[in-house]
Symmetry: C2
Subunit: 344 residues, 2 copies
DNA sequence: TTGTACGCGTTATCAC
DNA sequence: GTGATAACGCGTACAA
């Protein structure tokens, strides 16, 4: 199939290619009439410039990539839409790259940066302790979003847009304690988790400590590895095992809403009720948490603000070429019907 | 930031660029030693070929695009992952493009095809009656997945991988009738919907007809337009309105699980129970339907098989350059706890 | 205001 | 087995 090129358009219009190029790219010095004629021809022949050639020629390809760790993560849906709108609105090209759970997102970013001559990168999700030697191989600014990563002073030209996972996790567990719970199980990520799991687990420990509740390992349950750590299935399965063990607890805190919902199912299946027999709390503030029955008490991340901020920070970094910017948002403890106050 | 190019590598190794190219692309006639030296240098300098240049040069860019209408659609998550794996495995480049609800996915595809020199396209979601004049502007094979689109004889070089939305919808409503329900409300897409909504609504009408139940317009509720037709929020809101109107019905059939979950919430909020007071049925077979409480009776689409088949069909079309292939899968009516038998 | 010619980084086609 | 070199389609400096 013959693809029509800029040369063809030029030939048809009886002008040079540069004139066509000027018309396409809204250059100032061009005769309006000539421009109109060219644009009409372009429309008529449905000519669309070849992206590869443009990117190749332009020293700067004006592309921004969003790397989402787990595209199916319901957390990211809205954010991606917002980011795309923002980025396209700024006349940048938008590339969405999905990163598998076993994949190292920074390695993917490095490859992508060179392949596509990126101008900037936004990470959605990923590890909270990325390998900085890899990060430094990135020569363009990047923003880590939804993960409260802490980077050393040597790394530069990046931003972090997130909530304070540790503090917010603390708040939730603190809240559970204040509702009279003393035996609080936690469904958390893998032992060796490098993502938000560790941060949220730390918050859990600190809250218990504050309330003088000893940390009980039998109440700490790790999700099983495999495809999708933060899945309902995983939450269900681990909760089922926990219940079968006969460990006593009055509240169950899951570090993700999806896990919490799986947990609820296991509780129901065991013939128990939420929150009458077990209180359940989640984290993230998915829409779903609200629509679940009973609605889930959860920590709501301001996802849309975070997306907007992530793109703002990125463009700022692109302009300044350097800097370090931490934007930590405050989350909202959203009370649902899944946690009840119990008597001491 | 200086990007290293193939020329640099060639210079460093003391060879010509073509030799380096041969090493990169696994060409046969190259001295293993030379190749090793080159590959080592490449690794050392972390050279990564520029994608734009490759695509520009290669007559065929070997890129396949997946256009997903609504990336946040939980239906697509797993499918996208499978598709990506399949496509990369076949040594093709994979591009994921999100399409907004108001956007015409075919127009996006046309632009993308030229911009990126695509080799093939997979549509996830979209309209069931696409504009064929636009589709014919696509010069590469495409597969419409999850939508049972019917195209005229004049269009060629495409595949459809879907379930029979009408028949499966019929089956669900038929099932509801067989459970003793006579007043069955439906939550469907927009009046003027051109997607699966219309097909599923038709199945609903036909099932009622079979059981001699008159079609009652007051039981047909359309989702409101705006951002996200198939959302829990929309389902909630429309069900709330329906309940307030005081229309009587014993079962509620939503054409998507997400809508069904929103509906359940509205029912609970009205002080009613599912399924005791109202039976609820969904469509799609999301994981979530299973984990919801009560678990949702739904029509389960074989999403993974469909994804695998979609890529198989696409590659077949790419090789044959033409053809029309309809792969209609059979869905599975998954009984949950949200529908109960009622006495006549 | 417009056209010509060059180069972006890569692969393929030749000679050698 | 290897190295020049001509494309690929576009943007732009420069000349006209």
């Amino acid at each position: 199939m013959e693809q029509i090129t800029i040369k063809e358009i030029a030939r048809i219009c009886g002008v040079g290619v540069s004139t066509v190029s000027r018309a396409i790219n809204d250059h100032p010095d061009i005769n309006p009439e000539t421009k109109k004629k060219i644009m009409d021809t372009i429309a008529k022949y449905r000519y669309i410039p070849n992206n590869s050639a443009r990117n190749l020629k332009r020293s700067e390809s004006n592309t921004i990539a969003v790397l989402a760790k787990g595209i199916s993560n319901p957390l990211f849906g809205k954010m991606i839409q917002l980011l795309e709108k923002d980025i396209l609105g700024k006349q940048y090209l938008f590339v969405l790259q999905q990163v598998d759970e076993e994949e190292n997102e920074v390695e993917t970013a490095i490859r992508l940066e060179k392949e596509k001559r990126l101008k900037g990168i936004i990470f959605l999700g990923g590890t909270s302790h990325p390998r900085e030697d890899l990060l430094r191989q990135l020569t363009v600014p990047f923003v880590i979003c939804t993960v409260n990563a802490q980077l050393s002073e040597e790394t530069d030209g990046f931003g972090v847009v997130a909530i304070d996972d540790e503090a917010e996790s603390f708040r939730m567990v603190d809240y559970l304690c204040s509702m009279g719970h003393k035996k609080i199980a936690i469904l958390t990520a893998l032992e060796r988790d490098s993502g938000i799991g560790r941060l949220r687990l730390t918050g859990y420990r600190e809250a218990l400590e504050k309330h003088g509740i000893p940390y009980d390992e039998s109440l700490v349950v790790s999700m099983q590895p495999g495809q999708g750590t933060y899945t309902m299935e995983n939450g269900y399965e681990q909760t089922r095992v926990l219940l079968e063990k006969g460990v006593q607890f009055t509240a169950l805190y899951a570090i993700a809403d999806t896990i919490a919902i799986g947990a609820c199912k296991a509780i129901f299946d065991a013939g128990l009720r939420v929150p009458d027999d077990v209180s359940v709390a989640g984290f993230d503030g998915l829409d779903l948490a609200d629509y679940y029955h009973p609605s889930l008490t959860t920590v709501e991340q301001p996802l849309e603000e975070m997306a907007t901020e992530a793109s703002r920070v990125l463009f700022e970094l692109i302009n300044k070429k350097q800097g370090r910017e931490y934007q930590i948002f405050r989350a909202n403890l959203r009370e649902g019907q899944s946690v009840r106050r119990i008597q001491e």
